[in-house]
């Protein structure tokens, strides 16, 4: 699955917010790769991608944030809600490869307590229930 989301100015122009989401599967776990910026305009697309995984029956999801250059509080809210939904289904969301700034935001907002940042996808996979 590949979803490109842009702001009002469209995906062809450089100045609209763009995030690219791709999903693949590894050993029964959905890996969602988030490339670009997650802000108020693109967070709904991330929420939709995670919702689609839940709707498809996934309970364990890894979010690969290595290429995520910005994650704002709107994006944080999406992660927290997705994690709670997956946990109530017996699974979890695990974060992989977050940049230092994203890790710092997770830490200072306390989100890290329920959503720790793992170094890479392998570490995130190992941490899933």
């Amino acid at each position: 699955m590949q979803v490109d989301v842009a702001g009002d100015r469209g995906a062809d122009e450089d100045d609209g917010t763009v995030v690219e989401l791709s999903v693949h599967e590894e050993g029964g776990v959905a890996i969602v790769v988030v490339t670009g910026e997650v802000d108020a305009t693109t967070a709904p697309a991330l929420a939709a991608a995670l919702d689609a995984q839940v709707a498809a029956g996934a309970t364990r999801v890894v979010l690969d944030l290595a290429g995520t250059t910005l994650l704002d509080s709107t994006g944080l809210g999406v992660l927290v809600r997705a994690n709670r939904r997956l946990r109530s289904a017996g699974g979890a969301l695990a974060l992989a490869g977050a940049t230092r700034l994203v890790r710092r935001v997770l830490e200072v907002t306390g989100v890290e307590r329920e959503l720790p940042a793992h170094a890479d996808v392998d570490a995130a996979l190992a941490a899933l229930p």
Binding site: T17, D72, S73, R100, R103, R104, V105, V108
Partner: protein, 130 residues
Amino acid sequence: MNRSLSIEVPASGSYLRLVRMLVTAFAAEAAGVDVEEAARVRLAVSEACVAVLEALPSRPHTDAVHVGARVEPDCIDLEVRTAAPSPVAERDLAVVRALADDVEVRTDGADQVVRVRLRLGVGGRAGVDV
């Protein structure tokens, strides 16, 4: 030398990326911030804008958001303001408070204002190396 930046955009999330780009480019040009500091400036101005946008009544509205940035010898001051009837909510400021060295929220006439001070070269009060 250009040490301050003033921009005005429509009060819409669609302009967040443009604001981030302009403010980050200004910070790099005027203060010579490194990549790590630029990322902090970029997220701080974006979060301040979102907090101010949240204070606006639900759409449709045609308000503008003013964003200012000023480079001082050891810091960058950001100011985001818009005419909104209700003050900026504290819950919308958690991330920007975590990133910044000082955050001031006030009502100035008809405007709701968020001022953010980021000290340069120290990585903010929580430190960059986490």
